[in-house]
Symmetry: C2
Subunit: 335 residues, 2 copies
């Protein structure tokens, strides 16, 4: 086997299926395997609209680790770094549907959009109503005027959390769509990369990055961002990241309450996340923002890639009420 | 600054203090800084015995990220990879004490034992009763006959969770000590290392390890384990790890219920944890063990070190009842 990256795996070509089997075990009987590679909660609220999330594997715990109580009802899982095929999306759709329709919620990547759209067509042929909300929180991936080209990154965590809370409480797919779209509209993220991860199948780096630079705004697969900047301190990096969010079209005014999420893309250690959080504090304070809840964790990853992202979700009364609901999943749990 | 490891920090020599400031922010007002570098919950149950945890920094989220509801009442925090000094232990002790005494719970490392013991003497001079339970779950660090030489590793997470639940419910320090010691007696761990992390102050590796070997039973700072074994698959590694736990003196019989914790030591990706979990499943099933709760996460770390550990806590009725209580902290939350 090729394992220059020293990954603890069995077969480089079966990682997605094997991690999926482990994931089902990690749910301790609360969720089950459906079809080829979907995971669905066992106890679903009757007569309710459903929340289906999904995406490629290799980025654990997202998306399939975000299934759970007041989180996703189910997830369609792709191969490593690949969108779930339409038949998997369909199998997941059938399993989560309870007669009130299904919301697809996933990140804005071409393969995911294509496959979920085909899955939606197949589901609608079976009489299942499907709506879609696409996550596009990455302000560094396209200008404000071209939001439909923006990638979905770590903002997905608070967005899925809100959508899951909504799915547990609302009665119609329209309401679920409305709230989830608001969560997307209220969320912005920016990420930086310092080192690539490695591809499980080959052990090769997921992208190239020189030792003395940071990829500002770089995507988690190495997609182009804003610029390559010299390696710098946390105090220098925090304003560069936050200014990209502040410069976007989501108004953030004094007194606004936010959820703040500092995420490691893989091997960046929590020590660094906490130091970056400390560096961000005076900048957020100067703007008068009130942090309602802070998450410091590694949830949106790309193997052992190094880098961090900062996500901000602006709360209004409705989003705050949904935020304050508890949730439980393998990847994110809140009391 | 020396930053060959590309860490997102400010000053290599102030990492412990800066991450601590970030940690206090991450608690969103639920905990506060006390003295030089301790963190203590704001709402503590009156007239109750206290649970103080602690250890060196650089291993986040442990120990200081495990303060919270039904978790530690407070933590004394050392410098990077260094035990908290006695004055910090004393300051934390004073802050968590509510007249019913304080339990010190920490991992078995010489510096921690020395400093917490001096802290206990200082506290007792002030009339605060202190008791100590030492975590020594690492079966690979010394033979069964020399348990007092064993290191504390990832088993600390379920142990602190149980101790925190006990501290929230019992009325006497004796009871807290009894239950916490039982949690320690019921917990075994074994870890493996595949790559060192790097020291924040120097950027140098925390230890040396050849590219083609795994350190079986190696400690999180590179302490000697059982053996260096050739790099292998998850299916080959799982029995090697579990046999070390099964070969120890804690009886694990068919029908026993356990908490299973698969932990990344830093940069080992959750994909790999899940694949190792899948590899462990048939071995646990063959022994007739019933998994009551599974944790798959990166909680006990050493910077961007690669490697995994497996911890097993055997539940009895009392431990199971305490396990099932919810808990909340920056590092581990359970609904």
């Amino acid at each position: 086997m090729s394992n220059s990256a020293k990954k603890i795996i069995n077969d480089p070509l079966t990682c997605a299926d094997e991690l999926f089997e482990g994931l089902v075990l990690a749910y301790d009987g609360k969720a089950r395997k459906v079809g080829k590679r979907s995971i669905v909660m066992n106890d679903l609220r009757p007569d309710a609209p459903a929340l289906l999330i999904g995406g490629g594997a290799g980025h654990e715990p997202i998306y399939h680790g975000l299934v759970g109580k007041n989180m996703g009802d189910g997830a369609a899982v792709g191969d490593i770094f690949a969108a779930p095929p339409p038949d998997i999306v369909l199998e997941a759709t059938q399993a989560v549907n309870r007669g009130k329709g299904v919301l697809y919620l996933y990140g804005n990547y071409a393969g995911d959009v294509m496959n979920f759209d085909i899955g939606a067509e197949l589901a609608e042929e079976e009489g299942i109503e499907v709506r879609t909300v696409i996550i596009n929180d990455d302000v560094a991936s396209a200008p404000t005027s071209e939001k439909d080209k923006r990638r979905g990154v770590a903002g997905l965590v608070p967005i899925v959390k809100i959508a899951g809370a909504a799915a547990a409480t609302v009665d119609t797919l329209d309401e679920l769509v409305r709230i989830t779209q608001k969560a997307v509209d209220h969320t912005r993220s920016v990420g930086v990369s310092t080192k690539p991860g490695s591809i499980p199948a080959t052990g090769q780096p997921t992208f190239d990055l020189a030792d003395d630079v940071i990829g500002l705004g770089m995507g988690i697969h190495g997609e182009k961002g804003i610029a390559l900047i010299p390696m710098c301190t946390a105090n220098e990096l925090a304003p560069k990241m936050l200014d990209l969010i502040f410069g976007d079209d989501m108004e953030l005014n004094a007194g606004d309450e936010i959820v703040l999420f500092v995420n490691s893309l893989g091997s960046t250690h929590m020590m660094e996340l906490l130091i970056l959080l400390k560096s961000a504090k005076p900048i957020l304070e100067a703007r008068g923002l009130k942090i309602h809840h802070t998450i410091v964790d590694s949830i949106v990853t790309c193997q052992e890639m190094a880098g961090v992202s900062i996500s901000i979700m602006k709360l209004d009364d409705e989003l705050k009420r949904l935020w304050d609901m508890p949730c439980e999943s393998v990847g994110y749990t809140k009391l």
